[in-house]
Symmetry: C2
Subunit: 247 residues, 2 copies
């Protein structure tokens, strides 16, 4: 996915609206089978450590070194925390308004950069890579994940750690979700490879693949990419963070 064009920056508009105190919008996610869901969670992108999910709070203790990369930084809740701890943080996102929000909130290293353009970042730089807020999903698919993990290996230094949150897609009883997963498998996609877009007022975001995986699936993806899962930090419900070590 390229950087989002301003006229399609639905997620950015949602975050910006909250930031400018023009409201507390819901997040409306439309899946390509027509399923829509919404959550009243925009405030959450702005929350400090106490508001993070339990697995994120535990995982952040594994952050290390001098230099961090925050992938899909949103309004910068994780970057601000790491910056406060003294790390040099590069925070990337593909939404112009999200990056603007993060900058205005004080994230010095925020920049507009789509995930697949990370080869523009300097090699052998980062000690910690963070993908919180289910952002393992930004890997998008199986092959793309393997490729991007290899690129992340190249960008990181010896001893680096990757902290990535996902959501186990199999922990659902919702028949529409189970049917969607079956359809994915029939089409050669991963079960939890959801194709979604964000809607906000008149703004319609671009379609993109977001990859939800079980712990076993994540381990398989990480294998052979120069990374290795060290441990899974779970919490009540389907969310978890994997602590992944550079090998």
């Amino acid at each position: 996915m390229k950087a989002i064009a301003p006229r399609h920056d639905a997620f950015g508009q949602q975050v910006w609206t909250y930031f400018r105190r023009h409201g507390s919008p819901a997040e409306i996610v439309e899946r390509d089978d027509g399923f829509v869901s919404f959550s009243q969670n925009t405030a959450w992108y702005f929350g400090d450590l106490r508001r993070w999910s339990p697995s994120e709070r535990r995982a952040i203790r594994f952050a290390r070194g001098r230099s961090a990369l925050d992938i899909g930084c949103g309004a910068g809740r994780v970057s601000l925390y790491l910056q406060e701890k003294g790390l040099d943080v590069t925070a990337i996102d593909n939404s112009p308004l999200v990056v603007k929000t993060a900058k205005e909130r004080g994230v010095r290293g925020a920049r507009l950069l789509p995930f697949e353009k990370i080869d523009r970042l300097p090699a052998a730089t980062f000690d910690t890579v963070v993908m919180f807020g289910n952002n393992f999903g930004l890997f998008g698919g199986h092959a793309r994940a393997k490729k991007l993990l290899k690129q992340l290996h190249h960008l990181t230094r010896e001893g680096a750690v990757l902290l990535a949150q996902s959501l186990d897609p199999y922990q659902t009883k919702e028949s529409a979700h189970l049917a969607y997963q079956r359809r994915n498998r029939r089409r050669g996609r991963m079960s939890g490879q959801i194709r979604i877009r964000i809607r906000f007022n008149q703004f319609i975001g671009p379609w993109f693949d977001y990859l939800l995986v079980s712990a076993a699936e994540m381990s398989e993806i990480v294998e052979g990419t120069g990374w290795e899962v060290d441990r899974f930090l779970t919490e009540d419900g389907p969310r978890y963070v994997a602590v992944i070590r550079r090998v």
Copy 2:
């Protein structure tokens, strides 16, 4: 609009989900320019008199006679009230699951009947017609409203009253709404003639026209149909109820 097919009964699913205590879903409305809005209001379809909007509470005192017609009855909040007061209530809706909900809640006269099929109801029957919850909107458009008002004249008895709520579309500063209204006027539609559909989980409702009018526009529409606006009952905000008399 015909009766909604069960597989497209998004609004019915939303109401039914709440009724069966499977959740308190938001209402997600998609307009044909891509604008989506949501409101956490499903409980409202079930509210007793204390939860009604101020103009509805004032207007219901104008209900009269023995026999009432509730158009777009939803979960039956108005029908239940009038039934309790001793009126014989016919409650119609074009959503199968909504009608089922109303019946299970005790609305004896609930039936699946689209508004444009009201010619199937017996002539010279009703003393009171209620269109609450912005349901003047169900008239859909200018010509259609005039035609249906004439049919309602035929179905009602001397001295009948029509209590219809609308929402003044001009009371907005939202640029997307103002642009939509301009587009409507350019296309020969009324400013507040919005084309919308309901989304609920995987259910996508049919597109339909919903007509929002100012008080002046409503007066013009009613003229020459055998009805006359007696008074407008306003409240804070754009909502109001018109008390309309059969002439």
